[in-house]
Symmetry: C2
Subunit: 333 residues, 2 copies
């Protein structure tokens, strides 16, 4: 293989085959993918969870992760928060002419590592190459299939009195990517929280109906996800500002940049709403895992302002949290 | 909505929601997709076929189709030739800042029409927007799930004496896209063959074990697909040059451009290998459908040159057909 990706590698011909044989299969090979058929045949499930996500994060390597890790975690997490046990992934890559083969290798290695950690197999894939200037290094789509193991998770299950929990500090991913874009100008020791949520979700499934809904607050952050939960709800969500975990480094960077950590993307945090009498158990289940050590109850479901998300500030006031209207940080995932 | 796509539409916030509500749901809504959950929950199957494809065709509108039609047909066809009955699709879009909303609407309408025709539902999706100059209008990934209804289709099932069939003239898609790129310089009345293959495949499934393998010869065309079939095979494939259907317009354009129609992509043609005593029935089943009217037996499986694809020319000679090594036509799909 040549050292940079050329258009030929997207041709579907010999160069594509060499890319598959020399790069993709060594990194990701498994009995289903190795067949290189157009469609993977896999054993079925009773009820499926099916999810897709495209990843255009820039830069594609950032402190704490890269687009490969992100593209597995993103889809795996979508399946997990939907109550599914992820099993199979597809991988569609759009490479820009000139992309270093060495970078591709590192990204595929990340995909491999994360697939192993989360117990999923990449069973089908596709690679296209576009001319220099018609892409930005690498874009990835992953779609995933999982067995539904925890049905009924939906914002419609939320009831007054429910507690809102988050598994750790928010905004790290968004701020880490932001800082890495402008590393000549800005310095800050923030690493992305990019991580799989399969263990945290599995720890909460046994709560049954007391587990109302879960989500990974990616684009738009915690605030936007909560606003989505409250859309058309007869309830409101009241956050306690002092309880929302934000790391000092993220907080400092946000102050400097005029950003709000509530809107900055997380890629490895779990937002969950649970029944009041399950909050303690949910918290201790989350905290029993390393990735949930800093889990916290951050708010409560009320009824005073149907459809709204409110923040009780540390000085005793209340403000309304609205949905992000534009792009705070474009291409964050 | 604004008249062009801006970065804000990829933010995951309010603009993304308005894009979904005003453009995507009106075009593609169905009970599963309308839930707008991260993962679609769907009823399961015994055995699944799972496939993915990214589409970067340029230009995204071409005679006979557009990237939307192509992105449904491409994945549906991959499932069908794998022996599956396609049921569910995911849709991941990467839009370039500045892409006209009207074009997006037309593309979504194509997706809708083609999904209806093929009986599939788009059940989950994702949209990202990249800065101007970091994409090329629109890139689409579709992944699909189907129930396996015709197991065992594989090049390994090919036996000496088997017949090679194609459902219609080859190369139309590749040449149509090529001509549309250079329409100021070149004129030619060639339309893409972009079409779904679900009916043709269903018509052949009843042949059972006598149906060895099927494929839609996209990137790299008929020649490359046959070379893939013969990889590591103890047999050879011998094509009869005079029998391969090529339309006069495609033939003329190829002569002019120095291209070989055997390597030009098809997006609505079926290549099938069947047992010798099933060839007549396969041919009449294909011809009974409008999309198979011009089906033909184009060659035979032999044993003289294991692993090779050969062409018996109209003047009585024989030449070896090799796999496409570079990109004959980049970004054809």
């Amino acid at each position: 293989m040549e050292s940079v990706i050329t258009l030929d590698y997207g041709s579907g011909g010999g160069k594509t085959a060499s890319l598959i044989e020399q790069k993709i299969l060594p990194a990701l090979g498994n009995p289903v993918l190795n067949q290189l058929t157009d469609g993977a045949v896999i054993d079925g499930f009773d009820r499926l969870v099916f999810s897709t996500d495209s990843f255009v994060v820039w830069p594609c390597f950032f402190p704490g992760g890269d687009i490969g890790k992100l593209s597995v975690c993103g889809t795996v997490n979508d399946i997990c928060v939907s109550g599914g046990k992820p099993a199979y992934l597809s991988l569609g890559m759009i490479l820009e002419e000139g992309f270093p083969a060495e970078s591709l290798e590192r990204i595929l290695e990340s995909i491999h590592r994360m697939a192993e950690e989360t117990g999923v197999s990449v069973v089908t894939g596709d690679t296209k190459v576009v001319e220099k200037g018609k892409g930005d290094g690498i874009y990835i789509n992953t779609s995933g299939i999982g067995q539904l193991v925890c049905p009924g998770l939906t914002p419609a299950a939320i009831r007054p009195g429910d507690r809102i929990l988050v598994s750790g500090p928010v905004g790290d991913h968004g701020i880490a990517v932001m800082l890495s874009r402008y590393s000549e100008l800005l310095q800050g020791d923030v690493r992305s929280d990019c991580a799989p949520l399969h263990r945290l979700c599995s720890a909460l499934y046994p709560l049954g109906e007391k587990l109302r809904v879960m989500r990974d607050p990616t684009r738009g952050g915690l605030a936007t996800t909560l606003c989505e939960f409250m859309d058309a709800s007869p309830c409101d969500a009241v956050l306690d500002e002092g309880a929302v975990p934000v790391s000092p480094a993220v907080s400092a960077a946000c102050d400097l940049l005029g950003l709000d950590p509530l809107y900055a993307a997380c890629e490895g945090r779990l937002l969950a709403v649970v029944a009041p009498d399950a909050a303690e158990e949910a918290l201790s289940r989350m905290r029993s895992l390393p990735e949930g050590e800093q889990a916290a109850v951050i708010g409560e479901i009320g009824t005073d302002h149907p459809g709204k998300v409110l923040m009780r500030t540390s000085v005793g006031g209340t403000r309304v949290i609205t949905r992000l209207s534009g792009a705070q940080l474009p291409r964050i995932c």
